[in-house]
Symmetry: C2
Subunit: 274 residues, 2 copies
């Protein structure tokens, strides 16, 4: 809490420290332990002041160590916005108009990695768990991007972890969006073409049953691949890239105008230059 | 709670109702109001039984109305997994080995909509809040996809909501991934080309200050657009599509092999057809 004592009916009550956000609201990041009654008094005084100031959304971030304050905030009308293992984010909307609080994140990013060598062999694995367990189906390496991880980095990391192969990213051949794949959440699968930089397979034991370089035609001829639409398109797109002149989305770093941070743009660079 | 009374040191204690998940764990969906002490007793008895049964992850979904039970669960060692406005999901890992609880979702999906009419005018707006507020910059309609909403649907909806214009989806021209854009979360912005099906603008008042059809050259000539990398690429990609032969990713519905659900694949269909 900051040291302000205010004179709006809550004299000598300390207020919660808050910073302004970009949308006319405030963000409170609670850090110190506090008695729920003290928190309630400070919250009510602060809300009163924010109302007078015409603030809109109010965010309260509560570390899991301050779980004793969650009930108080909810009883004052806050609702859950999102949570991570170490914190819960609560939110409240002051104006009488409908709220414009942004929704929570909705998607997991997963990658599928097509790695082809000069002998027209594709890097494939069999997994120890999941939908393909025990089916004998050979599949390309797949995995989930970590928080804050770029798509191209996730693709290279998953290939390295599962097979020991070093690669460089070539392009995104396509992507698939599907819903309710993970509780109520959605999944964006980016199909990435990678070029191998090493060839000796060192399979990871925890998740991978087997890994090999497999002749592409043999991979494509698996009975399963004929029945499964996504598999079929993985094969078609890979062949269009290798044998044809397929233009996928390659990578360009750009700098944010607002904060100088690097982010990555993926687009058809061949056609833009063309 | 179900009606089971057990005989493992918690005689006559009712257990929490749970269903098995696909990974050797259990999911408890709490629905009825409960005193925290009653919950604590039932939770401890249930955990004891799940341990004996060799269960792994334990999920507890608490509706926001049962916020009074959150502290109890956390004090028993549960941590936050994710939250939505109406519930909090808590999780616990029983085995002594490192947990394999899947990470939370990480990305918000946003769209930017390039809508060009036959007079080479682009549909642009000025927003009432956000980074561009008061700058006089004209920008393409943008917005966040709802939970469970497809990229192409979100693009059409945002254009309709902000400007009243009906459109059909043409293709994704490119996308940008950036991190820490929204608390610790990441953002995938899909730049979508849309074809207008109506032309009379009815702007939305809540978020939009102004909307118009603007000559593309005028849009591109805004001083801001010259300094901002993403803006520059929006312009270049739009022109490559309109004037050149740019191959973006268009849309194909596919059926899941596993559950017959429809999902959408985005890829360069022009190049695949050859």
């Amino acid at each position: 809490m900051d040291q302000l004592a205010v004179d709006n009916g809550f004299q000598n009550v300390q207020l919660l420290s808050a910073v302004n956000d970009d949308h006319g609201g405030v963000i409170v990041e609670m850090k110190e332990n506090m008695d729920p009654d003290v928190f309630l008094t400070a919250l009510r005084a602060s809300m009163s002041q924010w109302k007078l100031q015409g603030k809109r959304g109010v965010w309260i971030k509560l570390p899991i160590g301050l779980v004793n304050l969650v009930e108080t905030a909810v009883k004052e009308g806050f609702w859950y916005h999102h949570a991570e293992p170490h914190y819960l984010m609560l939110v409240y909307w002051i104006p009488e108009t409908g709220h414009t609080i942004p929704a929570n994140v909705t998607h997991r990013v997963t990658i599928g990695a097509v790695v082809l060598n000069d002998k027209r062999e594709v890097l494939v694995v069999q997994e120890k768990s999941g939908k393909f367990q025990g089916t004998g189906v050979w599949k390309i390496p797949t995995g989930v991007a970590d928080e804050g991880e770029d798509i191209f980095t996730a693709a290279k990391r998953e290939v390295k972890e599962e097979t020991g192969i070093d690669t460089e990213f070539v392009e995104v051949l396509g992507f698939r969006q599907c819903h309710k794949s993970f509780f109520e959440k959605s999944d964006l699968l980016f199909l990435c073409m990678l070029r191998p930089l090493s060839f000796d397979i060192q399979k990871q034991d925890l998740e991978i049953e087997a890994a090999q370089w497999m002749p592409f035609d043999e991979y494509a001829a698996q009975p399963f691949a004929q029945k499964h639409s996504l598999y079929k398109y993985i094969i078609d797109l890979s062949l269009a890239k290798v044998d044809g002149d397929y233009g996928g989305f390659s990578l360009l770093p750009i700098t944010s105008f607002f904060n100088d941070q690097i982010s990555y743009l993926y687009f058809n660079q061949r056609d833009l230059k063309g």
